[in-house]
């Protein structure tokens, strides 16, 4: 848990300066530290990762084009960001192992209407970042990464935060860098950095001069204080995150029908969460499993809302369910943020074990 003393020592700085928001000294300090963490030239902080994405999409999208290529297995925010930015999602199926976009899957979807490619790094794997960069350069289409769950990681020898035109991350509760709520963007593009810096504050450059269509997407100083304190503690948070992941690995191994997704030996440095797949061997439906977990005070959720890949399939006019749709039905996110203890993980796994042991299989007299 982040130390209250450390949080308050940061808070004292904005308190004494009477500056509680509007890109105050703590937000600026946070931006410098996050840029350094990711090895990026620039970092800008926002009220949330979602609105960081939305402002980045608006800034990067090629003018006059109507579509954004997005994965059809993802958090609902990819559909929401397209809607708020008045772009049509052009859905793209994901790789069965990584649950992410590959360049081979994206390329046939690039057209004269493509304004942007929005690739996500799911909790359990990676989008083909380098190959997508190559595709983006070749096609002239901007590439934005939703790296919301990927702070502190490396990929293909580079730090996450330096891929594509920009990447967006979360400062929300449970994130590796926890600011209660918030988000940030990293980029090596100075012009993009300047533009989103203005648009998050209503587009103002100076007191009265609006230069862009803006919004309020500012991070307040209280959230910045919490995030800075969380950064001070980063190594410990990464170690605890690995410990929680390890606990899930050890306990879930013993439960048939539950497959822990994504982690390989020597894999991600700072696993941001836990996705499990309820395989064919799992005796209960996903919704029923979630109901039981929630009744047991386990804050589990679907990895991807069921209606998102269904929407993608309908949009594509597909008569059969895509891989994304089949996977979406089976993927569950288990709680693993900093507030989750090893005892909590034990209780969660025990509950899953109980479901597995006590739910009748088809042919045993009960419908599944």
């Amino acid at each position: 848990m982040t130390s209250a003393d450390v949080v308050l020592s940061y808070c004292r700085r904005f308190y004494d300066a009477h500056q509680y928001t509007n890109t105050g000294p703590l937000s600026r300090a946070l931006e410098e530290r996050l840029a350094a963490l990711h090895g990026a030239a620039y970092c800008k902080v926002f009220s949330s990762s979602f609105w960081a994405l939305a402002l980045a999409v608006r800034a990067l999208a090629l003018p006059g084009r109507s579509e954004v290529i997005v994965p059809s297995l993802a958090d609902r925010r990819v559909a929401d960001v397209a809607a708020w930015c008045q772009l049509k999602p052009r859905w793209c199926d994901v790789d069965a192992d990584t649950l992410a976009l590959s360049a081979a899957a994206v390329e046939p979807r690039v057209s004269h209407e493509t304004a942007l490619v929005l690739a996500c790094h799911p909790i359990s794997g990676w989008a083909q970042a380098g190959e997508l960069e190559t595709l983006a350069e070749r096609s002239g289409v901007p590439l934005l990464f939703d790296s919301v769950t990927s702070s502190g990681e490396t990929l293909e020898g580079r730090r996450i935060g330096t891929f594509g035109n920009a990447e967006c991350f979360s400062l929300g509760a449970g994130s590796l860098v926890d600011g209660f709520k918030g988000g940030y963007l990293t980029t090596d593009d100075g012009a993009l950095s300047t533009e989103v810096s203005l648009t998050r504050g209503f587009g103002f450059n100076g007191h009265d001069n609006v230069e862009h269509l803006g919004f309020n997407a500012k991070l307040n100083e209280l959230h910045a204080a919490m995030a800075l304190a969380s950064l001070d503690d980063l190594d410990t948070r990464i170690a605890r995150s690995r410990e929680r992941r390890g606990a899930y690995e050890a306990m879930l191994r013993a439960i048939p029908g539950v497959r822990l997704r994504g982690r390989e030996e020597g894999g991600r440095e700072a696993p941001p969460g836990v996705i499990v797949e309820l395989t064919e061997a799992w005796p209960s439906g996903t919704e029923e499993t979630l109901e039981i977990l929630r009744a047991g005070s386990v804050d589990a959720r679907r990895y991807c809302p069921a209606d998102l890949p269904a929407l993608a399939d309908r949009t594509a006019g597909s008569s059969s369910r895509s891989r994304a749709a089949r996977l979406a039905d089976r993927l569950v996110v288990l709680p693993s943020g900093d507030e989750v203890s090893l005892e909590d993980i034990g209780r969660t796994c025990a509950l899953l074990g109980h479901i597995e042991a006590t739910t009748a299989r088809p042919g045993e007299g009960w419908p599944r």
Partner: protein, 399 residues
Amino acid sequence: MIDAKRRASDLAVLGGPPAFERPLPVGQLYFPSWDRFERAVRDLLSRRGASHGALTASLEEQLAAFFGVRHVVMVTNATLGLAMGAAALRLRGKVVLPSFTFVASAQALTWAGVDPVFCDVDPVSHQVTPATVEAALDDEVSAVLAVNLWGGTCGPRALEDFARARDLRLVFDSAHGAGVHADGAPLGRFGDLEVFSLHATKVLSATEGGCICTDDDELADRLRRMRGPGAGELPVGGRTGAHATFSDAQAAVGLLSLAAFPEIRANNERLFRRYEEALTGIPGITMLAPVGAERSNYQSVVLQIDEAALGLSRDGLVGALHAENVVARRYFNPGVHRMVPYRDEPRRRTLALPVTERLCATLVQLPIGALVTDETVERIASLVRALRRYAPKLTEAAA
């Protein structure tokens, strides 16, 4: 009476030292005492995970009582609240709003996918009225976004009657309006919904924050589900996910701010009256009283400048005050119809809003709030007198 500028050369804009050591901004900037804030932060951090959303729920309940409404939905900030309100009401086509407002009012509509149509404001009240809205109406207008300015109001009941008679939706941008009473009720219950700001510069503060008020059960449910993430989110598609949550950390500050509201309002009123006294009799300076309000929160000090009588233009006055570290503001300047991207649309290039244009060229806001004392008010009034007295020297120096 304080009079530190005995000679023209004492003015900062003519080389003298500034009247204030540190910049004095416009903006309420009230914040809980350190002791109370520290206790709240320690308590919040000690129960994280166990009480997710509890403080926000408590703030919503208390604000519902404060505003006299059935539902309060706290969101990240008021601009997002307005955009969500427009999306939740499924507004389409055009929405009429005054150009004389903070730019966020229009930006929220643009993000929600509706087309802002700008109207003028009343020359006396400076607020939008049924008459000014009527002048901008056409068959494609589906709603009105009315704004309650400066701790006063635009006469919400008259606008409700107007909107009802024309089958228009009605939303109030009440960013300035927490604690204001008009037409026999607190702001909060009027129209389809109202949005208040809990930005640090407003009378109620959560550092940032937006408060959507409505008595409509179905609308409130839709807003909560749009706010997400969480139980019962709306199906994917369209602007059904706003990702607009409000943190318990913000709620902790908001609860303390709400508890202090009576003292905040009383202090604002006292300072407001002090300004009225201190600025009386200065030619070219008219201090505006909050209009349309039975009870104001006195969140703004707004002056109208008559250049001929003052001997100094509004911009000249603002520049000279800035040099003294009084960060006076030209809210709103220019009118939103003259701001990017709206000004670049061909149909707006010929749009004539003469009252708005005049107000944008002649109004100034002075600081009021937590950083202002009686002495501050006296000192600022003295500066204004001195600037008028030495206006010819300022004009000479600028030439």
